[in-house]
């Protein structure tokens, strides 16, 4: 027996699957949309479909991209020798906001986390190795989150992937709140951390 009309139930289920949205919020959003003008609901559903059709991950760095390459990879003004490795595309947004970095990126699409079944093979680490071997990169900055999983991922990349290459490998300088998310660091702190980065032995 369903409490609400079937289409509402389906929408609540779908919304509830999204990250950060529990059953209560899903219900609230569903009823909000039920009451909203049809045209507003249409705009939301169009936006979702358009995003999925037009945007995917950049072939080179796995940032979000409209087409095959993201805007950063296609910007030839950027320093092609310095590569910043991040966990998620949203971390690129956070770093870009600081204006302290003019190089290129590589997105891992996650961090090592055995509890969630995520090891190096589930991340874009092999692709990173290929880029470092094939492109003319002289410095890699490991900008994973300053928490256990991010630190471990950075350690893995530094010691197991980048060690054979002649490269400067750096890690964000301290100053970032430990245990935090890059996304939540304020611009000034993140900018300073980028400028004061430390070489990883």
């Amino acid at each position: 027996m369903s409490v609400y009309a079937k289409p509402v139930e389906v929408l609540i289920d779908e919304l509830g699957r999204l990250p950060g949205i529990g059953p209560k919020s899903a219900q609230r959003i569903a009823f909000h949309l039920l009451k909203a003008d049809k045209i507003d609901a249409q705009r939301l559903s169009d936006a979702v479909v358009a995003m999925k059709e037009k945007v995917s991950f950049c072939d080179r760095c796995f940032n979000v991209a409209e087409g095959e390459e993201c805007t950063i990879c296609s910007d030839i003004q950027r320093d092609q020798h310095v590569l910043c490795v991040v966990e998620e595309p949203k971390d690129i947004a956070a770093i870009e906001k600081t204006g302290a970095f003019r190089g290129i990126y590589h997105v891992l699409l996650g961090a090592m986390n055995p509890l969630e079944g995520i090891g190096p093979d589930q991340l874009k680490i092999r692709e990173l190795a290929l880029r470092v071997a094939g492109e003319n990169i002289t410095e890699v900055i490991l900008c994973t989150n300053p928490n256990l999983e991010g630190e471990t991922t950075a350690a893995f990349i530094a010691s197991k992937i980048l060690a054979p290459f002649e490269l400067k490998v750096t890690r964000l300088a301290s100053g970032l709140p430990v245990g935090g998310d890059l996304e939540y660091a304020d611009e000034l702190t993140l900018g300073r951390a980028l400028e004061g980065r430390n070489t990883v032995s």
Partner: protein
Amino acid sequence: MQITKLWLTDFRSYEELELPLDLGLTAIVGANGIGKTNLLEALGVLATLKSFRGAPTDSMVRREAAFAVVRAEGIRDDREVLIEVELGRRRTRAQVNRQRLKRTRDLLGALRLTVFAPDDLALLKAGPSVRREYLDDLLVAIDPSVDAALRELERVLKQRNALLRQSHGRLDEAAAMTLDVWDAKLAAAGDAVTKRREQLVDELLPVVSEAYEHLAGEEVPVGAVYQRSWPEASMAEALVVSRDGDVRRGVSTVGPHRDELVITLNGLASRTEASQGEQRTLALALRLAGHRMVSSVLGEPPLLLLDDVLSELDDDRARALLTNLPPGQTVITSATDLPALAVPDRLFRFDDSGHPVAGE
């Protein structure tokens, strides 16, 4: 901080209660089941936001009520402080001086607490995890930053164990590389915690010996040795040696989570060879020693709660405890009158309605 007055609303057996406390020793005397431990538990909530009996929050709300309120007036740095904790069936909220705390856990640390309860016999009788927890709680009380190190260790162990389980007893080259980095994290976290615990045990031993001697009234050699679960010099080496076994068993077999605090009396293992009476005295000595250490580091003694200790000790030891209490505020409960010579600064007895009223 010292508590001058406690109010309860719908907390366990109490619908409404107002109880003034002395800055020295307050004694609460009444029959079993009347609500003495409930009172101490409420004081504990002000310090830790949870039950020292390990009971769920829900069970502290009076049957039929929607939420409980524990309110206390106290003195901190010569100023009056009002702490209020609301225990809902779903969430806990806190106010200090009528200002709601944004994060309820910001209350932690405002009031320090040492509890000794009959359950503490487990410190000697139960498995090693209870003694590790005793050390860790003490480390955090002395230096709150240790909490982060302990949580990091716990998380690394969870991650490493998950990885070991997933390897199903065999490690291919890629998995071995992944395990290397988790091992490095475990080695760092493990060495850090081990060092802190070992240092604490060294500092604690003379204090425990002294407390034991005071209670027992005689000099008995007490020993406390922190026993690592690995013989190697560092955790990094230990993890190399244990790797094959860990992979086979799918679990981390060495580390601070497998260590033990061995306590001896007269050279004999207290867990298996001490009498029940000796174990009780030793458990109390461990708590009092921790209390003394925290007092001297913080420069102010925590609130000391002694739940039903007298029934556990013979007359001589009970008197030794009460006539030589550590300085600071103490609340003690008892089913029987306190021994003569031990006069509390304030005494409450329960009347017929189940409320503590000021005794003579």
